[in-house]
Structure formats: C-alpha cells, structure tokens
Amino acid sequence: MTLTVTEKPNATPVAKRSSSKGLGWFFWACTFWVLAVIILAIIAPLLPIDNPNKTFVCQPFSGPSGSHLLGCDDLGRDILSRIIFGSRVSMFVGIVSIGIGLIIGGFLGLISGYNNKKLDTVMNTIANIIISFPTLILLLAIVAVFNHSLIVITLSISFISIPLLFRVIRSATISVANKEFVQAARTMGSSRIRIVFVEILPNITPIIVVYGCLGIGSAIIAEGTLAFLGLSVSLPTPSWGNMIAEGAQSFLRRDFLLTLWPSIMIIMTVVCFNFISQRLEGKFNSGDGAI
C-alpha cells in the first residue's frame, strides 16, 4: 500500500478540544476578587483614601458613615484605608513567600525526583524533619530568634513551605520520570537538565499552579496568625491580623465591627484562593493536561 494516507478525516474530530465545559462563573468571581485585592494593594498609595495612620476627629467605634465608609477604629483611624493598606502585607507575604517556596522547593523536588537516589534520600529526610515540627511553633521560634520585620516573616513562611512544596513536586516528578517519553528523550541524547526542564517541568506545571494557589491561602492565614499574636509587622503599620487583634483587645472596649471587616477580608481571600486551586485541579484532572 502506498503511504500517502494523510489521515485527514481522523484528525479533525479528535482535534475538538474537550474543554468545552468552562471553569464556571464562581471561579471567575473568585479570580476577580483576588485580582482586585492584589491591584488595590499595589496602587494603595495612589488611591484617594485617607492615610491609614492619620487620626481623625471622629467618635471612636462610630460605625460606617459618609466620610468614613467602614467607620473609625479606637484611635479614630479610617478602617477602609487601613484594610486596603493592610492587604499589602497579607498579599506580599502570601505571594512572595510561596513564590520563593515554589522556586526553591520546586527546583529541589525536580532534581531529587529525577533519577538521583542518594540525593533524593538525603533531601527527603531533611524535608521530613522540617515537616515534623509544628508549623506555628517553628514560626514563633524563627520570629523570636530574628525579628518580626516583613522580610523575616516572609522568609520564615517560605522556609516552612519549601519542604511541603518539595514533597508535592518531587512525587509528581517521579510519576512523570517513569513515562516512556522521558526514555525517548534519553535515547535522543538529551541531557539530564534538559530532560528535567523541557520534558518533565511542562507536565507538572498544573500541579505547581494548583499547590501555589493553595499555599498562598495558607501563607495569608499564617501571617494573620502571627499578626494577631503581635508578631508580624510592627504597629502602627496595618495588617489584617493586627486589626483583628486591635478589635478584640482594644484598650477601651471590644469592637465587633473592627474585628469583622479584616476577618471578612481574610476569609474571602483565602476561600477564593482555595476555590481557584480546587477548580484548576479539577480542570487539569479532567484530561485537559498542561496549561
């Protein structure tokens, strides 16, 4: 038989993408919320809002009013403004710490998962040791040894995220490394590094994205916990965690509303990150493969 078969009729139907089912409106609503918070955090100094540390002459705990949309706190500062400026801390810690965690943990996971048994055993043991410490106590210890500046908080949360992300990416790498196309690349003379970054990495990007989103949510909560305990950025710089603490432990009296607004922000943002992560995971698992 001759070889001029183009298999054209076959190619067209299979080519139809199986992704006709979208991600759903709720996914996009979550993405919108997250993006809005990030953009507001970035452009906060340019916004026509009050200085978060300026005290106004207003009735403390006065509640929402025309000039202060969410009201004033115990020292007469504008709550809306403090929430927007507070998001800068949460978002910075969340995104930067997980970013560092993914770069370091991901790199180590890829190297360790692909074909180096001794290195793999050593790194896996180290990761297990770090993971076996209770997270909050480890965080408190790091912050106690150094100081509680933004950089230290970010780095210590990323330090805790590294072994967790390392393990996820390592096991994903192992499952891809045994596939036949990796062997095919080896027979073609591809170097190890090239195989890791050209063949394996594109196959685990979905996992990196999913766990990255999930990690940002957890990092925001970790920062909030530290801030609530007074171990995040120093006052008067606002952060969602220390605003909750101020509402709960105010000198004058407890203020329900002052605690409510930043709590809503944390819950909404974390839930959105988690939902985005879960939805993407479902999407990738449904066979829609890499991004």
Binding site: M1, L3, T4, V5, T6, E7, K8, N10, A11, T12, V14, A15, K179, E180, F181, Q183, A184, A185, R186, T187, M188, G189, S190, S191, R194, V198, E199, P202, N203, T205, G287, G289, A290
Partner: protein, 330 residues
C-alpha cells in the same frame, strides 16, 4: 537452545555488532542476568527481526543499545565504536545515529508539548539547523499533513497517528539505525499494516538499518531480512527470514512458527506434530542448567541438562544453538 558462541557473526564490517553482551539488573535477591552472552550483528540497510516471548530480554537489548540500560560486559560496536565504553560526549554523537521507536505510541510523546516541539526536539538537542519546511517534509514522509498536525498535542491523535509522529521524530536526524521496540503491538491490525509499510518505505528511502523487536512472528516475517530468536536472554537461532521460518531448526522456533495461524497456505500444514509450548518462561533468577529451553523442550535429553549447546551452522546463513536441531527437507 539458548546457546553461546559467535559462529554466526559475519566477518564483513557490519553497522552494529554486539559481542558477548551481558546485562544485569539488581533485584532484592541479588543480581539477575537478563541478557547472557548474547551476540548478533546488523548489516547495512538490513532489517533484523528479534523475536521471543514476553520477558525474554528483547526490550532490554534495545534499551542497552540506546544507552538506557548499562551493559555489564561485552561490546556493542556501532561502526567500530564500542557504545559500552564511550564517554558522554561520544555517546551523544552516537545517539544521533541510533533512534528508537517505542511500543506505546501515545505515552512515548510528551503530552504537554505541541507536535511541533516534539518533532524538533532531537534537532535542538543535537543543534541541527532546521526550519518549518524541513519539519513539514519529514511529516509528509510519514503521511501526515503538517497544517493539521503541528499545533496540536499528542492526546488529540489516535495511536496510529502518534506512531507516525514518533517515526517522524526519529527520522529528523536521518539515523543510520532505527530500533523499533514492538512498534505495532499496541495498534489494531489494520493500522499495523499501514505502519509496517511505512517503516519499509522509509527504510528504503533513508537507506537505514533496522532492529525490529516483536513477539509476533507474522509481523517479523513481513518486515525482516534476518531473524534472531531469543529465549531467556540467549540466542537460539539466527538466519535469513526464509530459513528461520520455513526450515526452523530449533524446537523453540518451531513452536513459535506453529503458534502462528496461517490461513493462506493450506499446503504448509505438515504431517509432523506441531510443537506446543507449555508452561511459563522460567525465571531469570534461576535459569535452568545447560540448555535454557530444556524444561519446555519435547526433545530434551540428558546432555541438554549438562552442556550448554554452542551455536553452529546448519545452512547458508542459518545458525542454531541446539544439541538436536530439527532437520527439515527442502
């Protein structure tokens, strides 16, 4: 069967010459020899079919040639260079000349990459200049339309199409030797014929040699010039396709031939009893003494238990490792 010796190796300079190859795998119970004292050669523009039951070491042989597995001893000479003893840089140069096609067409293509990148990857690895036109040409040689194929991902294609894509990927570097590890056994029968014909056509066009591995004797018979029969990591019989199929000397080869249903040639029904294989292939961890096939061989004698048969000539370009080869007339 399952013999030793190099009587069957041809003297003339061959493209690939494997001598006394041993490959070991580490198992929890110690080292297991998967390929023992195996010798074979492949000539220029020749298709050597390697046939044997599942688990007899065929794929290990292929993977050793392409340097995925390491040989314990012996040599694999490719154009005179010993692949077993090469440095990294030399090994990379040789990997350009030897390409491999795998059994599972879909999983041998990276699901996260577009066909364009899959096909150009070997060219990038070896820093060979290429452009859109040369890729399109390669694709049209394997019967695929570049406009339809290039920007899609492997999961959007059928098994047969994926196998064409992996053939195109292998052809990009114009290799001198193409190793096909059961390239059609995952495909349905109508597609098998297409792919086999495609392989024959490109073999003639590129003037390359092929090492074609299959457990299916009818596939091997269709494509191979010479056939080597393997059993438990050893060579049983080697010879030209006609010699091995029509005048099988080794009881194991005869059993394989008998197991193929032949609808067309009613005349081939022979008066003798068919040899039927019973039981499983023995374990590599405890291979039988003497001839490795003796436990399943209908003609086994006490000598088969004591002495390992040496490979000897039984006809023109026809060698067998058996103490009691079947002599067939005509």
């Amino acid at each position: 069967m399952a013999g030793s010796g190099n009587a069957h190796l041809r003297q003339a300079a061959e493209l690939l010459k494997i001598q006394n190859l041993k490959v070991e795998f580490a198992t929890p119970k110690g080292k297991t020899e998967i390929i023992s004292d195996f010798s074979i050669d492949v000539g220029d523009s020749e298709v050597l079919g390697v046939v044997g039951e599942s688990g007899c070491g065929k794929s290990t042989l292929a993977k050793t040639i392409v340097q995925i597995n390491k040989a314990k001893s012996g040599s694999i000479l490719f154009e005179g260079n010993d692949i077993v003893a090469l440095s990294k840089t030399q090994a990379k140069l040789i990997s350009k000349e030897i390409q491999m096609i795998f059994q599972d067409p879909i999983s041998s293509l990276n699901p996260a990459k577009k066909i364009r990148n899959i096909i150009s990857e070997p060219l990038k690895i070896h820093k060979v200049a290429f452009d859109e036109r040369s890729i399109n040409e390669t694709l049209s040689k394997v019967g695929l339309d570049a406009n339809i194929v290039l920007d899609r991902k492997p999961r959007q294609f059928s098994g047969g199409q994926c196998q064409r894509i992996s053939i195109a990927r292998a052809l990009g570097l114009s290799p001198k030797l193409l190793i096909c590890d059961e390239p059609v056994s995952a495909l349905d029968v109508s597609i098998q014929a297409q792919i086999l014909n495609l392989l024959i056509d490109i073999k003639d066009e590129f003037k390359m040699s092929m090492l074609f591995i299959s457990h299916d004797l009818s596939v091997i018979k269709y494509i191979a010039d010479r056939i080597a029969v393997m059993y438990l990591g050893k060579l049983c019989e080697v010879g030209s396709t006609d010699q091995v199929i029509l005048k099988s000397s080794h009881p194991y080869t005869q059993a394989l031939v008998d197991s193929v249903l032949d609808v067309n040639s009613g005349s081939s029904i022979k008066t003798r009893h068919k040899i039927e294989l019973k039981g499983e292939i023995p374990s590599f961890t405890k291979p039988p003494s003497g001839c490795r096939f003796r436990l399943r061989c209908p003609f086994a004698q006490p000598i088969c238990e004591q002495d390992e048969p040496q490979i000897r000539k039984v006809g023109e370009d026809h060698f067998v490792a058996c103490h009691f080869p079947i002599m067939q007339n005509g």
